[in-house]
Amino acid sequence: MARRIPRVGIGGPVGSGKTRLIEQLVPALTRKGYRCCIISNDVVSKEDAQRMQRILATEAKLMPENMIIGIATGGCPHTAVREDPSINLAVIDEIEHKDPTLDLIIIESGGDNTMTTFSSELADYFIYIVDVAGGDKYPRKRGLGIESCDLLVINKIDLAPHVGADLSVMARDAKAVRPGKPVEFVNCRTGDGVERVADHLAEGLLFDKPVSQKRRKAARRG
């Protein structure tokens, strides 16, 4: 059996910025010396996976194109990461045989509003992302995704004044419904705050994988 590669699940409503977060997160993790692979779940389209292939593989050359895999689930994407994750597990099995030296598998899945969660069989760490345009009530409305995720990410903070969202209210409510658990405010368009998300992953998930200075320097040189 191939070595088990650590996995992070990234979930959240449609348009919250999951794909954008990954597009910013992979360069941040690469700068730290980590090598990643991405699985992107969607209902019928593979558009997000194709966009990431273009941005992260073809243009930025951060990973081979075949390490960004799109899955058209044919049903609610959250079903394929929770109720029946077998298609994702099959793809992970292939990846683990193809390149067991990878440090991290990122699994993206949308849908299901605040209730998205990942099967613990599939993901070792769970990031839930929402954006301020949904209103500053989002964290206090709770839901399994918001309450149980390891890291809550609140995106599009630059839009807050334009949509009447109070970030201090969101921070207060997130703390109240997720006692002791972290929340990060980010702007995935500019990358502001994404380095801190990468730090959380390094600390909370990749804690036994110290990256050598040599590999870190090589990653920085590109």
Binding site: M1, R4, R82, E83, S120, D124, S148, F207, D208
Partner: protein, 165 residues
Amino acid sequence: MLLVNGVAGNVFTNGRLGKKGHRAGLADGAERLIVSRSEMERLRLRRKTDRGTDIGLVLERGTRLHHGDILKVKEKFIVVEQMPEKVASVIMEERGKLEMVDMAALIGYTIGNRHRPISILQGKISFPIQNDSEIEVFEKLMPAGVRLDFSVQVFVPSRDVHDHA
């Protein structure tokens, strides 16, 4: 960080270690790693114990934590404790055989549609409640002759299923 790759036994099932666990006093003496039910299913987890020891847990495929597990570490005696949660227990009135079958099917339908794990122990069905606001819904949807009792306890599903409301 203390890297942990397995468990050495369980205070409830392992005689020798169990005695050690009881001597240490599971409830009030031993160092405890307190985790939620969903975290118990993880193979990779970083948490602090109640005494502040930083634990990085990496388990083998096919294994999982259980309430009362003793972490495999040389320096310390650390016991895994699952967080208690609100649980509903289904109390069914004694009725005729066919009526009982109908009731059981409707109870399964109601709980199953909300994708909750269940525990069936000596004819008693229990399931976790995520938020007090959903109690009203469950009480309304349960068939006639059924009432729900609520308590806070360590919930162990009969079979592993996902959570979803």
